[in-house]
Amino acid sequence: MASSTVAVGVPVQVKTKTPTWRIRQSVVTYVSLIPYVAFALFPLYITLVTSVKTKQEINNPNLSPFWALGLTTENYKYLAQYTHFFDHWMINTLLVSVLATGISVVIGILAAYALARLRFRGVEAFGVAVFVTYLVPTSLLFLPLINVINFLDKFLHIRDTYWSLVITYPTFLIPFVTWLLMGYFRTVPVEVEECAYLDGCGRLRTLLTIVLPMALPGVICAILFGFTLCWNEFLYSLVFIQDELHKTLSVGVVTELIRGDIYFWGALMAACIMGSLPIIVLYAFFMDYYVSGLTAGAIK
């Protein structure tokens, strides 16, 4: 790379930015990105290919796993006909993710703002507590959590419905959202807030009208990540919901398509594709907003 000769104080001429240099740079960039993309997409590709293979092809170890000889939609048809994938599990998972993420983001925004800006006794302790809650693994936490759910179930019928998840998912969403938004709120210039405060805006109003719009990419980021965590969750959904119509995607798929020592690979792979599609679409759609928000925020 041509940037070697640096004399202190003497501005180096911009001979480094010639058109050929630029082209070479971008080629290097894009070529270097290819392995990453291939690495990320490889399992998904295998999943897709397997989901359109016939059972016999899947079972034959001599055929190429990377290509499907006979294309078939029987696995997707099986998913639609014999399981509640589309008519119940998908809807349940969507509802749970939307509601739980919504609640967590709202609460997280408030908490993050407090931690980032406000000063009062216990803010440090609270900040630490937010992190510490992550140290307890869900594979242990779910058992004591049953007691809490059963207690609440005395007043509201939540057991065996997705409301039990809407209540418990925020336990691992709120800390994450809070941390994420704390950082973004700190990047909002204090002066702007002070102006609003001096103008007579209350704390809440300042937050909603001034800070939040400026930290929007952070909020979108929090929503996206939170949604993903909800969508992927397995253990809580397994123990809180057994009614087949109320199950979420991951649990339902594992129950129906893995029976003892038989795995229905074709249908499992089809479920993986279909189960990832909504999220991928969501991300694809919001990516632009998220990133443009970030870049706009940087050039302040």
Partner: protein, 339 residues
């Protein structure tokens, strides 16, 4: 170099609680000399913000009911004995003493440390590289960013099944490729028992964890990268800084808080990982892939000895607690004292 010094001064001011960006270059240097940005001092005069309590109240309520209480219950489990559903009696640290003599548990400690350290290192190095690349790619942005995110986005329970197929003893795609695809088959590499050989199995689990966690690092670091104002780089460039120097003296220091917190979160998530090992190996072969979460599940849920299960799961807690406190203190120190 004057510009670099200016840049570093600018970095110092950004790290303050309030980011005071001012047009006049002089004021940047001025802000650096004071310990705190102006806004903060002004607000301190007004006293503590009591409505802050109201802001955190909803979070506190949920966390107390759904995390703090269950946590203490879990702690009680680990310090008492009795099967699930029975009345429990205090036995102090006997459960912990028991597991420390269990050779499977000692193996679990080793496995988890190797697993977490290798995976997090891979994720941070490649995450940083990927974030830098993503920043430089100006064309086909949506495609690159979208496709790179997919491992993190797709349901873990299902993608791990996909990986299981790829490493399956009979159908392994990799073994097939090594046997049938030119030029790989010229190397004569035998079929590998990806999940059947002790340390290979652990490596595979760490690899899948790396695959899944890389987007998290990449996207978060990317956000941190994008937040660095372009003026700093331009200022450094006019001084003739090379790409390496720009990276080392500007990018890395500015990314340090982001890197620190992302690494912290990822380490905690990775140490508590359950799904990958559970689906791929269930702890085998010969217990070489058992992690805290999977072994705790085996002892606590399958064997109904919830005391042992809780002891295993909480074993790392004191250590992690100390690490979290230290990390947070470090991040706070950086932000308060600027340069």
């Amino acid at each position: 170099m004057a510009a670099l010094r200016n840049a570093q001064a600018y970095i110092g001011s950004i790290k303050g609680y309030g980011m005071a960006i001012s047009e006049a270059p002089n004021s940047i240097l001025l802000d650096v000399s004071t310990a705190e940005p102006i806004g903060r001092r002004w607000r301190r005069a007004l006293g503590p913000d009591l409505d802050g309590y109201g802001f955190v109240l909803p979070a506190v309520i949920i966390m107390t009911a759904l995390i703090v209480y269950p946590f203490f219950l879990a702690l009680w489990f680990s310090l008492s004995d009795g099967m699930i559903g029975e009345t429990r009696h205090w036995i102090g640290l006997k459960n912990f003493a028991y597991i420390l003599q269990d050779h499977i548990f000692l193996q679990t400690i080793r496995n988890t440390i190797i697993f977490a350290v290798s995976s997090v290192i891979l994720k941070s190095v490649f995450g940083l590289a990927l974030a830098l690349l993503l920043q430089r790619a100006t064309r086909w942005k949506r495609f690159f960013r979208g496709s790179v995110l997919i491992p993190f986005v797709a349901p873990t329970a299902l993608t791990t099944l996909g990986w299981w197929l790829i490493f399956d003893p009979t159908y392994s795609h990799i073994n097939w490729a090594l046997k049938h695809i030119w030029p790989l088959n010229l190397l004569g590499l035998g079929p590998y028992q990806w999940l059947g050989q002790e340390y290979l199995a652990l490596a595979v689990c760490a690899f899948v964890n790396f695959w899944r966690g890389l987007p998290f690092f990449a996207v978060t670091i990317f956000a941190g990268l994008v937040a660095i104002p372009a003026q700093i780089y331009e200022a450094a460039e006019t001084d003739g800084a090379s790409a390496w120097r720009k990276f080392w003296h500007i990018t890395l220091p500015l990314l340090r808080p982001v890197l620190a917190v992302v690494t912290l979160f990822s380490t905690i998530f990775t140490l508590g990982d359950f799904n990958i090992v559970y689906v791929l190996t269930r702890g085998g072969p010969m217990n070489s892939t058992h992690l805290f979460a999977t072994y705790s599940f085996t002892e606590g849920i399958l064997n109904h000895d919830i005391g042992l299960g809780a002891a295993i799961a909480l074993f790392l807690f004191p250590l992690l607690f100390v690490i979290v406190i230290l990390q947070l203190r470090m991040v706070r120190k950086e932000t308060s004292y600027g340069l």
